[in-house]
C-alpha cells in the first residue's frame, strides 16, 4: 500500500468541502459521532440534508463564515491506498494557503462549477498546478445536477479547459463530471450520466499512477544533523543524518560534498536506529558514513559524482509572495533550501504575473501578497540547487524575513 497526497482546489461556492465530505462519507471513512456532530449543526438547513462541508471546516471562523481559510488535512484509507487530502481555500485572498497545500501534493483536483465553466479562479488554480509541476491533474466538473446532467455542457467545458492546459503545459489531465451534493460519480459510477464512461473519482484516485520519482541520475542527500555519541565504545562514530532527496546511495559509491567540493566514498549506510544496509533510496531518512575524515555539517549536500548539481550565487526564481509587507528590490531575506540557509538579496523584480489573466507586467515597483513574480536573487555564498523542473525536491525554497521570522515567499528555482 502506498500514499497518495492530493489537494482540492475550488472557490467559495464550487462545492469543494462538500466533495471531500462526500468522498469520506461514501467511502465509509466517517464515524457516527462525527456525523452526529455535523447533523446537529446542519439542523438550521431547510431541506434537512446534512451539510457535508462541515466535516472539513475546522475553525470557528470558517464555520461562521462558511468558507475555508486555511489548509485542513484529512485522511482516509481504502484497501488500495492511504490518502492524505489537503483541503485548501480557493479564494484569491488565500492563494498562499493553496500553494502551501499544493507543494506536497502528487495530484490536484480542480473543481469547476458546471454552470460557470472555466472561470478566473480555475485559471489561477491551474497556474499554481503548473508552477509546482503537479504530476497529475483531475478536472472535476461539479454541480452536474444543476445543468440537467448535460453531456454537451460537460464536453464544452472539457474543450475549454484543454486549451488552458495546453497553454500552461499541463499534460496529465483527466476529466470527470460529478455532483458532489448527490454523490454522483464520487465513489460509485452514477446512473444519472450514462454517457460518462470513465471511472468514479475514487476509482481514479485509487488507480492513478503517481511517479514518486526516483531519479537515478541525480542523487541528493541533505545533511540535517551530525550524530556523534562520543562514548568510549563509539569514540570514532561520526554519522551524517539526513534525508535522501532523490536517487539511490550504495556502500562504496563515490561522493562529493557540496558546497565545499570535498570528495570521499560511502563507508556505511544506516537506516533508523543504526541498522546497517547496503543501499538506501529516496525519500528514506538515513545516516551516511564517509571513508575519509572530511568536514561535513548541517546544510551540506552529499551527491554522487555522476551528476553534480549547480552551485551559484545568483538565482532566477519564480516567487509566490506570501507576506502582507510588499516585496521590494534590495530587500534582504534568508533563503532556505531543505536544510540550508543563506542570506539573500532581491536584485531585480523581472515581472509580476496576473494570476487571473496570466498576463505579465514587466518591472513592477513591488510585489504584493499572493503575487506570482519572477525575480533574481543574489546570495551571500554559493547555494547548491537543481532547477525545479528537473528535480523539484532540490529546486524549491522558502524566503524568511529575518526580522519577523515569518516565511514570506515560496521559491521555484528556474
Amino acid at each position: 500500500m502506498d500514499i497518495l497526497r492530493f489537494i482540492t482546489a475550488g472557490s467559495v461556492d464550487d462545492g469543494k468541502s462538500t466533495l471531500i465530505g462526500r468522498l469520506l462519507y461514501d467511502s465509509k471513512n466517517i464515524m457516527i459521532d462525527q456525523l452526529a456532530a455535523i447533523e446537529r449543526q446542519s439542523k438550521h438547513k431547510e431541506d434537512g440534508d446534512i451539510d457535508l462541508a462541515l466535516l472539513t471546516d475546522g475553525l470557528r471562523a470558517e464555520r461562521e463564515q462558511g468558507i475555508t481559510i486555511d489548509v485542513a488535512y484529512k485522511y482516509f484509507t481504502t484497501p488500495k491506498r492511504k490518502f492524505i487530502i489537503a483541503d485548501a481555500p480557493g479564494h484569491i485572498q488565500y492563494t498562499r494557503n493553496m500553494v502551501t497545500g499544493a507543494s506536497n501534493a502528487d495530484l490536484i483536483i480542480i473543481l469547476i462549477d458546471a454552470r460557470n465553466g472555466v472561470a478566473e479562479q480555475t485559471r489561477r488554480h491551474s497556474l499554481i498546478a503548473s508552477l509546482l509541476h503537479m504530476p497529475q491533474v483531475i478536472v472535476a466538473v461539479n454541480k452536474m445536477d444543476l445543468v440537467a446532467y448535460s453531456q454537451d455542457v460537460y464536453n464544452n467545458i472539457v474543450i475549454e479547459y484543454a486549451k488552458l492546459a495546453k497553454l500552461l503545459d499541463l499534460d496529465q489531465v483527466t476529466y470527470i463530471p460529478v455532483s458532489a451534493l448527490y454523490g454522483d460519480n464520487i465513489v460509485e459510477r452514477a446512473s444519472s450520466m450514462p454517457w460518462y464512461e470513465g471511472e468514479s473519482l475514487l476509482g481514479l484516485l485509487e488507480n492513478v499512477e503517481v511517479q514518486k520519482l526516483i531519479n537515478h541520475d541525480k542523487a541528493r542527500f541533505a545533511v540535517q544533523y551530525v550524530i556523534r555519541p562520543q562514548t568510549q565504545a563509539l569514540h570514532d562514530y561520526r554519522g551524517y543524518a539526513g534525508k535522501i532527496l532523490s536517487g539511490i546511495y550504495r556502500k562504496g559509491d563515490d561522493i562529493t560534498v557540496l558546497p565545499s567540493g570535498a570528495t570521499s566514498t560511502i563507508k556505511a549506510i544506516e537506516t533508523g536506529g543504526g541498522t546497517s544496509v547496503d543501499e538506501a533510496f529516496a525519500p528514506q531518512a538515513v545516516v551516511l558514513h564517509t571513508a575519509d575524515d572530511i568536514d561535513i555539517s548541517r546544510g551540506d549536500v552529499i551527491v554522487l559524482n555522476k551528476d553534480i548539481p549547480k552551485a551559484a550565487r545568483e538565482l532566477e526564481i519564480l516567487l509566490c509572495w506570501m507576506d502582507n509587507k510588499p516585496l521590494l528590490a534590495g530587500n534582504k531575506y534568508l533563503l532556505q533550501i531543505n536544510s540550508t540557509r543563506v542570506k539573500a538579496v532581491i536584485k531585480d523584480i523581472v515581472y509580476s504575473m496576473d494570476v487571473n489573466s496570466l498576463q505579465k507586467n514587466y518591472h513592477p515597483e513591488k510585489g504584493e501578497l499572493n503575487d506570482i513574480l519572477k525575480v533574481t536573487l543574489k546570495t551571500a555564498s554559493p547555494v547548491v540547487y537543481d532547477s525545479y523542473k528537473d528535480l523539484p525536491v532540490n529546486g524549491g525554497g522558502i524566503l524568511i524575513d529575518e526580522t519577523s521570522n515569518v516565511t514570506v515567499g515560496a521559491c521555484i528555482i528556474q
Partner: protein
C-alpha cells in the same frame, strides 16, 4: 524502478525522522512532551530511530496532572530506564498550590485545562524553544489545521489565522526570544497507522490498552474508571466490565471502551470495524463545545 518504492508506514516513519532531525538541527533547547500514551510512546520509538546510537538531543518532559493511570506512570519509568534518557516531571498539583489556581468542580472535575499552566511554566523554567508532541491531525478538526512546526507566542497561544506557510518539507523554526514552536512529527498518521506501526515494530505499551477487568461507572454511554479523582453519587451504577483504553489521558476525562481485544492484532481488527472516532468515544473533555480543542490550543495547550 518500481522496486524502489516505500511502503506507507516506511514513508510516514521517514517523514517523522526527518522532522525530529530538523528539530535537532534548528533549535537550542528542545524537549519531547511525553504523556505515557501510545502516540508519545511511538514518538520515543521514532526518536530512537532518528538519533541512535547517539543520545536524544532533548529530555522527555511529563506534565503530571496527578490524575494519571498508575499503569501509565509505571510504564513511563520503566521506558525511561530502558532507553537511558533524561526525564523531567512537573506536577500540576504544585502549580495549583503555588499559583493558587482554582480547580474545576463537578463529577468529573478535570485538570486538563490547568495542565497548560504547568506546561507553560515548565517551558519557561528550562527555556525550551521547541516542544515535540504526539498530536495527530486525524484526531480532531482544529488539529487538522495545525502546521507541523506550529509557532506559539510567549503565552503559548496558537493563532490559526497567522500560521506560517509550510512548503514542501521545509520547516521554518525561527522564533523570537520567549516564543516556542510545537512540533508534531506524526501529524500525518491516523490511529490505525499508529497501531499498524506498533504491530510492525513490536512496540510495548501500558497494559491498560489491552482488555482487562475494571470497576467502571456508566455515564451517558461512556465508561469511566472508578478512582479517587471522580465523584461517585448514590445513583451511580458501578460494575466490573471487560474494558480497554483507546486513548490514555487523565482518569477523570478518559473513558474506557468495552472490549475483549487482548492483543495488538485484536485491537487493529476492532479499530477497523469501529463506528466511532477515537476522541468521540473516549474523551469527555471534547464534548463541551464544537470548538473545545481550538480554544484550548489558543490558550497554550499542546
Amino acid at each position: 524502478m518500481s522496486t524502489y518504492r516505500l511502503d506507507y508506514l516506511d514513508e510516514l516513519e521517514s517523514e517523522a525522522i526527518h522532522i525530529f532531525r530538523e528539530v535537532a538541527g534548528q533549535f537550542e533547547k528542545p524537549a519531547l512532551l511525553f504523556s505515557g500514551g501510545k502516540d508519545s510512546i511511538t514518538l520515543v520509538h521514532l526518536a530512537l530511530k532518528a538519533f541512535r546510537p547517539g543520545k536524544f538531543p532533548f529530555p522527555l518532559v511529563h506534565i503530571d496532572t496527578g490524575h494519571n493511570f498508575p499503569e501509565a506512570l509505571l510504564f513511563r519509568d520503566e521506558l525511561v530506564k530502558q532507553i537511558d534518557e533524561k526525564l523531567i516531571v512537573r506536577c500540576v498539583e504544585d502549580t495549583i498550590r503555588t499559583k493558587q489556581l482554582t480547580e474545576q468542580k463537578g463529577k468529573f472535575a478535570s485538570r486538563n485545562q490547568l495542565q497548560t499552566y504547568t506546561l507553560l511554566d515548565t517551558i519557561q523554567e528550562f527555556g525550551f524553544d521547541a516542544c515535540i508532541g504526539g498530536a495527530r491531525r486525524d484526531e480532531e478538526k482544529a488539529r487538522a489545521k495545525e502546521r507541523i512546526f506550529s509557532v506559539r507566542d510567549e503565552f503559548g497561544q496558537w493563532e490559526p489565522k497567522r500560521q506560517r506557510p509550510e512548503l514542501w518539507n521545509m520547516y521554518n523554526g525561527k522564533i523570537h526570544k520567549g516564543e516556542n514552536v510545537r512540533v508534531f512529527p506524526i501529524s500525518n498518521w491516523t490511529e490505525l497507522d499508529i497501531w499498524n506501526y506498533i504491530r510492525r515494530e513490536k512496540i510495548a505499551l501500558p497494559s491498560i490498552y489491552f482488555s482487562h477487568d475494571r470497576e467502571v461507572l456508566e455515564y451517558e454511554g461512556q465508561y469511566v474508571a472508578v478512582s479517587d479523582f471522580i465523584r461517585i453519587d448514590e445513583t451511580d451504577v458501578i460494575a466490573t466490565r471487560k474494558v480497554r483504553y483507546r486513548t490514555v489521558g487523565d482518569m477523570t476525562c478518559t473513558a474506557a471502551v468495552l472490549s475483549d481485544a487482548s492483543t495488538v492484532e485484536d485491537i487493529i481488527s476492532e479499530i477497523i470495524t469501529t463506528k466511532t472516532s477515537e476522541r468521540g468515544e473516549t474523551r469527555i473533555d471534547d464534548r463541551f463545545s464544537e470548538a473545545a480543542m481550538e480554544d484550548r490550543k489558543k490558550n497554550g495547550y499542546f
